[in-house]
């Protein structure tokens, strides 16, 4: 369904267009003044922008649309389990998400080909950056699938997904770590949790080559949890419908 639908290609085009502009923007700033970080590091700093838009676009339809058109009924009367359906939807969306990100690798190839300067293309941060995208993508897509399992309307699913990602990435990553009210002893467990969920910090570590198993575990366990909730949500809905 994902590959048949024209909206997928529109989303892919827009994604590559936006990322292309980001990349040219970075290169322009390099041409004007020397910078400390390699272009790869700068490029992945902008990961949150496409994530916030692409993930809802890719995942909002997956379960909500089935429910709205009623095809969920034919789907679940075929010999498949809910787990298989949810994992299938997740896998498809994740596959497409990663394909799009891998396509941005072409930017770096073009840069290397035409600049002829190997210093501009630092392989370490590049691989670290893509590894971060791959691992965090699991969690983001799982959140999208979860949002889609809640709603019947795909716009609602998309907005819900956007809101959840916004909370996770920006509120968790920017505001809460600095919030002083979290420093009291009573809220200590919460503070620890917030400290783990600093996605911008994770990205920095990954691009620097520090792959911490705690961070991997954070994404993997988050993914598993979101998928389990999606399965439960789908099952609960058709039991009580």
């Amino acid at each position: 369904m994902l590959l048949i639908n024209p909206s997928t290609y529109v989303a892919a085009f827009i994604f590559l267009l936006v990322m292309g502009f980001v990349f040219t923007g970075i290169l322009e700033s390099y041409s004007q003044a020397p910078q400390d970080a390699s272009p790869a590091i700068a490029f992945f700093q902008y990961f949150a922008v496409p994530v916030m838009f692409m993930v809802p676009l890719l995942t909002m339809k997956c379960l909500a649309e089935e429910r709205r058109t009623g095809t969920i009924e034919t789907l679940f009367t075929a010999p498949v389990t809910t787990t298989e359906v949810v994992l299938g939807k997740f896998g498809a969306a994740y596959g497409l998400y990663m394909t799009l990100w891998i396509a941005t690798g072409g930017f770096f190839y073009v840069l290397r080909r035409f600049s002829g300067d190997p210093h501009l293309l630092d392989l370490g941060p590049l691989l670290g950056g893509y590894l971060f995208i791959a691992v965090s993508g699991l969690l983001f897509i799982a959140i999208g699938v979860l949002a889609s399992s809640f709603a019947r309307n795909q716009a609602v699913a998309g907005i819900l997904c956007f809101a959840m990602l916004f909370l996770l990435i920006f509120v968790g990553g920017y505001y809460l770590p600095d919030a002083s009210w979290l420093n009291s002893d009573a809220l200590h467990p919460l503070k620890t949790a917030v400290d783990y969920a600093q996605i911008f910090q994770h990205r920095e570590d990954f691009t620097r080559g520090v792959v911490d198993t705690r961070q991997l575990l954070f994404y993997l366990s988050g993914t598993v949890l979101a998928l389990i909730f999606s399965i439960l949500s789908v099952e609960a809905r058709h039991m009580h419908s």
Binding site: M1, T69, G70, T71, E73, T74, T77, A78, P79
Partner: protein, 326 residues
């Protein structure tokens, strides 16, 4: 001697209640292999709910359902392999092509890749879909979409097929095609169809189950049901002459014959009279002789076949009466 095969569908004391409302209330029935059963009932009678429980899509509140000997509650996977289901309103993905959709569904239903190609051609042929196999489903007319749904249901050659209102929204010509399709399936597959189009059920089904307010109010072959529920035979007369003489004649002719309704005479002096009797045998000819011997002018005499419609109304009214008495 091998053990006899279990019936295709066995439902006993099935109850389904939603929050505060009972949709299906203690339904029991069995369907033999190869039988075509029709569910008949007004909207909200519990037809769709019963079908959804049969397919394993909805869990039942209590009671048991088994298909080909497998209980639905504990072995949903076995059930899903044995049932082809077309839901109400026939949901289809609008942006896939017919052949793509059927291929996808076939793979989902565990039809082997090598067998699927020939089977697909066979089903497309059977449902007369060859011309549109590469069309996008969303652009097809309702009749085609309905046939895509039917093709999908019979694709994996399941022993049991359940279709919720398969002929709704079709024009008479398309209904005929769909009806022929069912006739072709008869004997090979067990089929349950629901409808509130009565003529439809009458032609296609071996047996009818009339549901109302979640209960089975009548079941049997359409002809047997007629006798059982209506019990009366109706004659329609168009007659001119003295009304008093007619009444006297009827009493003399057969005391069981009653005048159910009498209309005012029209411009030519003819009245329409409806007579009912509990006798099953044909009274037309002797009645006509008796009327003519009394010099009553008869323009028309016919024995009215009670339609399934009358039957349906009578059966559902009967169940309302019983419900109200409680």
């Amino acid at each position: 001697m091998p053990a006899p095969l279990p019936p295709a569908i066995e439902v006993s004391r099935l109850v389904k209640s939603y929050a505060g409302m009972t949709a299906v209330d203690d339904i029991s029935f069995t369907v033999a292999r190869g039988e075509v059963l029709g569910f008949l009932g007004p909207n909200g009678a519990g037809k769709s709910t019963t079908m959804r429980i049969l397919t394993g899509y909805l869990p039942a509140t209590s009671g048991s359902v088994s298909i080909c000997g497998y209980p639905v509650a504990t072995q949903p996977d076995e059930i899903k392999r044995r049932v082809g289901y077309m839901p109400e309103n026939n949901p289809l993905p609008g942006d896939m092509r017919v052949s793509e959709y059927l291929y996808f569904r076939g793979r989902l239903k565990e039809v082997h890749r090598r067998k699927l190609g020939p089977r697909l051609d066979e089903v497309l042929e059977l449902c007369d879909l060859k011309r549109v196999r590469h069309s996008i489903i969303g652009r097809l007319s309702k009749g085609y979409r309905q046939r895509v749904g039917i093709a999908e249901a019979i694709l994996a050659e399941p022993p049991v097929i359940i279709m919720d209102e398969p002929t709704i929204g079709l024009d008479p010509h398309q209904i005929l095609i769909v009806r022929d399709l069912f006739a072709g399936l008869r004997g090979r597959m067990t089929v349950i169809i629901s409808s509130h189009i009565l003529a439809e059920i009458e032609v296609t089904c071996d047996r009818v189950l009339i549901l109302n307010r979640g209960r089975v109010v009548a079941q049997g072959a359409p002809a047997a049901l007629r006798r059982e529920i209506l019990g009366l035979t109706t004659y329609r007369l168009e007659i001119a002459g003295d009304a008093a003489r007619l009444t006297a004649l009827l009493v003399a002719f057969d005391p069981m014959l009653r005048v159910a309704r009498q209309e005012e005479p029209d411009a030519d002096g003819f009245r329409k009279v409806t007579l009912t009797t509990e006798r099953a045998e044909e009274l037309g000819e002797p009645l006509l002789r008796a009327l003519l011997s009394q010099n009553l002018r008869v323009r028309a005499l016919s024995r009215a076949q009670p339609t399934l419609e009358d039957l349906f109304l009578a059966a559902t009214r009967r169940s309302w009466d019983t419900v109200d008495k409680k």
